[in-house]
Amino acid sequence: MVTRTTRWLLFCVFVLTVPLPMLGPWEVLAPTARYLLLAVVTAAVMAVEGAAGPVPLILALFAGHALVYLLLAWLVTRLCTRLLTRLPTRASTGVVLAACAALLALSIVLELYITPFGSLPRSNLLGLLS
């Protein structure tokens, strides 16, 4: 597997599955993609209805988390990719695929996420996507 593919695969799985906390008044443990989605939704409301009340603040909160965690995901995947280059290609590919499969499996089997903004208090990946 080429380095670029490895990096992007790890990045996407990280963004989609790794639960990360939200700083602020609400107890949230969600993947980066969730923060990104909430930021996009809030931005859409702001674009359509204006910036009255707490909308800019909420948008800043979600967008800030999304950006910071995207950056974190990028740095982590870069580091992982660099470490993986020391392994033979076949082994490297195996590790990447196994790690991605494990993360996806865990996020589907376990209710890893605390999601007060959704329809369930805790959720797994499928719940988040539904």
């Binding site: 939704v41 859409a44 009255a52 007060p116 329809s119």
Partner: protein, 638 residues
């Protein structure tokens, strides 16, 4: 012979005639209904809740409340109510029930967002597929924050674009729930001679300029109400609300009659009881008269704290159910720091300001009585027992998805009750009590409190069995104006308080003492004094917080006739009574004890119950009642 019969009959008739008519005109009937069989000319205390939200309020619905106005009234009458969280097939996960039914209740859903709530909930309505409604349904908590913030955190609130030009779509959609509110009030009002339960048509005008709470509950006397409830979005000032109530109800010529009850001045940042108009000019005599006519009561206690008096004042009992925020909006920040609290945030200082304004304008704009209520957003009126608090359901803590270990913010409380002295349990009788301020509030317990003010009450008034008759005959009840003095001497207050009789496993605690709170003007400056007039302070250590039992000795009843030792006949004054129970457990103590929290072993305390061991959170309270004041005005200033 006729003269002899008349001579014999007349004294007998005078004895039988209700003395109450000597001071108060009986209420007028404005509706068709059966006469009540339990009519009592000396009036009875009726317990109720004037502040109730249901699923028609956006913030209640957004936090998972599904019960409507009819459910709220059934709950008030003693039926069980299923509440959130709901399962995917719509079944409630838990049920609550009052130990004792109420005598009356008033559903006061927010007039703002009535239409938006309905549109987002009903797929057949225009706007249901708007972006905002989609967000509300797909991300309920996000929708809750965005929509509430859009309306209530703005100086100039506006409608969402899906409401159409001028908000017409949402205003039209609001008619459905508004009619539902009126129909539920009608359906659950007992018009039979049993007079078992009374409802009123009402709504809440939710004014919140800049996050400062200036909310009013609007209560209609009978089935005749405004066609549209007045909204903060279209009518963003309190003067505008009064004008709307005047034009659309009082002046409508259709029998409509109305009162507005402010609440939570404790988070108003001083904007609720202003002495200037919205344009910055000092209020006029006409403004004062309008306010005095429409706002005869204030809700002094509810879930979101106590509004009686300023914490940190000389009166140590003001440190009771205090919220450390100047503005309602500050509550949104969980770690908000208490700021400086502006003046005119508490009813006692507002009552005193009323004396100042009366001296300036010749009319007192702040001549209001005191009541309590809950502000439940679970459609659960009267759910006030400390040992069964289930939360406010419209704040930062919600139970939409799961039951939180701690049902609400530690500084919230189960709220209180409104008590009205009326001849019977009917709309006209209760409304008349509200208008003449013969009312009091409690922090939850059903104490019975009488207060009369006059000049000539004998010191042994309490020893007879005609306290009430002589109270009415010799003066005025709570909420009234002291009549002109016959001669020199101080006014006398006759006070009688009975402990909550409890029953049906309701918690009940003995009475500790009665206090009189006096406010008066001294050279134009307002002064407050608090007098202990009956009973004595209980030993606070008599309460065992681990079991919530007390060894404190209190009284089942307290009665006294008190004469003001500092009376100045030239100084306008008001007097109200505060009746205290012995210290008892606050709701968090019951909850933490039930959960088996051991603060001596911090490692064993679950994180969600950490507040149980927060020494900054009160674990005990003195439950209490606040009567409406009586006012004294020197003869030359009347």
């Amino acid at each position: 012979m006729k003269r002899i019969v008349l001579a014999l009959l007349l004294p007998a008739l005078l004895l039988l005639a209700p003395n109450v008519t000597a001071t108060e005109a009986p209420f007028e009937r404005s509706e068709q209904r059966s006469p009540c069989t339990d009519y009592d000319p000396l009036r009875r205390a009726f317990f109720g809740d004037t502040h109730v939200h249901t699923a028609l309020s956006f913030d209640a619905w957004g936090q998972g409340t599904m019960a409507g106005p009819g459910d709220a009234y059934r709950f008030a009458r003693g039926e069980a109510l299923g509440i959130q969280p709901y399962s995917s097939d719509g079944l409630p996960s838990r049920s609550i029930q009052l130990r004792r039914p109420l005598d009356f209740a008033i559903v006061t859903d927010h007039s703002d967002l009535l239409g938006e709530t309905r549109i987002c909930d009903d797929p057949s309505l225009e706007g249901h597929d708007s972006l905002v409604c989609r967000v509300v349904r797909r991300f309920p908590k996000l929708g809750y924050i965005l929509v509430n913030g859009h309306v209530y955190s703005s100086e100039l609130p506006s409608r969402y674009s899906f409401c159409g030009s001028g908000g017409a779509v949402c205003l039209q959609a609001a008619l459905g729930p508004w009619q539902e509110i009126q129909q539920a009030a009608e359906a659950h009002y007992d018009r039979s001679s049993a007079c078992g339960f009374t409802t009123f048509v009402g709504y809440e005008w939710t004014g919140m300029p800049g996050g400062r709470n200036i909310h009013r509950n609007v209560i209609f006397r009978n089935a005749t109400a405004q066609r549209f409830p007045t909204t903060y979005i279209e009518t963003p000032t309190q003067e505008g609300l009064w004008q709307a109530l005047d034009q659309e109800c009082l002046q409508a010529g259709n029998g409509c009659d109305v009162l507005a009850i402010p609440h939570n001045s404790n988070v108003s940042a001083g904007s609720m009881f202003t002495i200037t108009s919205t344009d910055g000019s000092p209020i006029s005599a006409e403004d004062a008269a309008t306010r005095a006519r429409l706002e005869t009561l204030v809700e002094v206690t509810q879930h979101k704290g106590d509004s009686e008096c300023r914490p940190g004042a000389e009166d140590e009992l003001c440190a009771y159910e205090t919220l450390p925020y100047a503005r309602m909006a500050d509550m949104a920040h969980v770690n908000s720091e208490p700021g400086q609290l502006p003046p005119l945030m508490y009813t006692r200082e507002v009552l005193a300001e009323g004396l100042v304004q009366q001296a300036r304008l010749g009319i007192n704009p702040f001549k209001f009585g005191l009541i309590g209520s809950t502000d439940t957003h679970l459609a659960a009126p009267g759910m006030v027992d400390e040992d069964s608090f289930v939360g406010h359901a419209a704040g930062t803590v919600d139970s939409r998805l799961q039951v939180p270990a701690f049902p609400d913010r530690a500084e919230f409380n189960p709220g209180g009750l409104a008590v009205l002295w009326a001849e019977e349990n009917s709309r006209d009788a209760l409304f008349a009590a509200m208008r003449r301020r013969e009312a009091y509030g409690t922090s939850g317990p059903r104490m019975t409190v009488r207060m009369f003010a006059g000049w000539d009450y004998p010191d042994d008034l309490c020893s007879g069995d005609d306290f009430v008759e002589r109270g009415y005959a010799g003066g005025v009840p709570m909420g009234g104006d002291l009549p002109t003095a016959h001669g020199p001497g101080a006014p006398k207050l006759a006070l009688w308080a009975l402990r909550d009789p409890a029953g049906k496993q309701s918690p009940s605690h003995p009475l500790e003492r009665i206090q009189i709170v006096k406010g008066y003007l001294d050279n134009g400056r307002s002064v407050e004094k608090v007098y202990d007039v009956a009973g004595e302070p209980a030993d606070p250590d008599a309460l065992d917080l681990s079991t919530c039992t007390t060894q404190a000795r209190g009284s089942d009843q307290l009665c006294t006739v008190w004469s003001d030792p500092d009376f100045d006949p030239d100084a306008p004054a008001f007097y109200y009574a505060r009746v205290l129970e012995v210290p008892s457990c606050r709701w968090n103590s019951y909850l933490c004890n039930r959960a088996g929290v051991d603060c001596d072993d911090p490692g064993s305390v679950p994180g969600e119950l950490a507040t149980c061991c927060d020494t900054g959170v009160a674990r005990s309270i003195r439950e209490r009642a606040w009567t409406s004041p009586v006012w004294y005005t020197p003869a030359g200033q009347r």
